[in-house]
């Protein structure tokens, strides 16, 4: 296989910066932290061109490096500034009566997969994600956006498996509720 010229490789890596910043922003919330993680990723990538050679897809490779940088950033920040536990009332209780049955029976959404191609829907989804409590949102995005296993997430964030499951449950139910209110109810 022919080696990719360095200047070309640099340009191809640099062209993916906006995508990577978007990916990291979702996970890290603070723009600066996201840009730092991307910067570290690009530096690491440029120093490791040889290990990319022959791999299928530059974006996938860079995203893989970025995921490690994001987990590092999360680990650092949770050491510096532990998040308060977000227990207590979380909106879940309002959905069910004292016997655990729906107060208001949920209805199916109309053509949700069609919405995935609408820019406005993606904006609504991001808005709902940003409303999740910080730790809940973080765990949820590590699981669903970065595709990490629950066991890994618990280990990185020093949570019990049970606590992870509770946070993921709350995140899913809160997102469902938020999307229903802000997107699907008037469609």
């Amino acid at each position: 296989m022919r080696a990719v010229p360095a200047a070309d490789f640099r340009a191809r890596v640099e062209a993916l910066r906006p995508y990577l910043v978007k990916f990291a922003s979702l996970q890290l919330r603070q723009r600066e932290a996201a840009e730092d993680a991307v910067q570290e990723t690009l530096l690491a990538a440029l120093g490791a061109e040889a290990s990319f050679a022959g791999r299928a897809d530059l974006r996938t490779w860079l995203t893989g490096i970025l995921k490690h940088k994001i987990v590092d950033a999360i680990r650092r920040s949770s050491r510096e500034r532990p998040l308060e536990t977000e227990d207590g009332t979380d909106g879940l209780d309002a959905l069910f009566n004292e016997r655990g049955h729906w107060v208001e029976h949920p209805e199916p959404w109309a053509n949700p997969d069609g919405a995935l191609h609408e820019k406005q829907f993606l904006a609504a989804l991001q808005a709902c994600l940003s409303r999740l409590p910080e730790r809940t949102g973080r765990v949820f995005l590590l699981r669903e956006h970065m595709g990490m296993e629950t066991g890994e997430i618990c280990k990185e964030l020093d949570l019990s498996a049970t606590h992870c499951w509770v946070l993921l449950y709350r995140a899913r139910m809160a997102l469902r509720e938020c999307l229903e209110k802000t997107w699907f109810s008037d469609r």
Partner: protein, 57 residues
Amino acid sequence: MNLSCKEATRLMSQSQDRELSLGERAALKLHLAMCRGCRAVSEQLAFLRRALRGLGD
């Protein structure tokens, strides 16, 4: 075992994170067969997973 809707939604969520036991799966299946609201939510949780996996592409 008769699940409440609250317990059923908790199991639906956990089924995305761990393998449910045989008993849990049977109870959930039974509940979903009887409960239209929970069936809707079950589909919506599956949709959320698809939506998040594709986010940012």
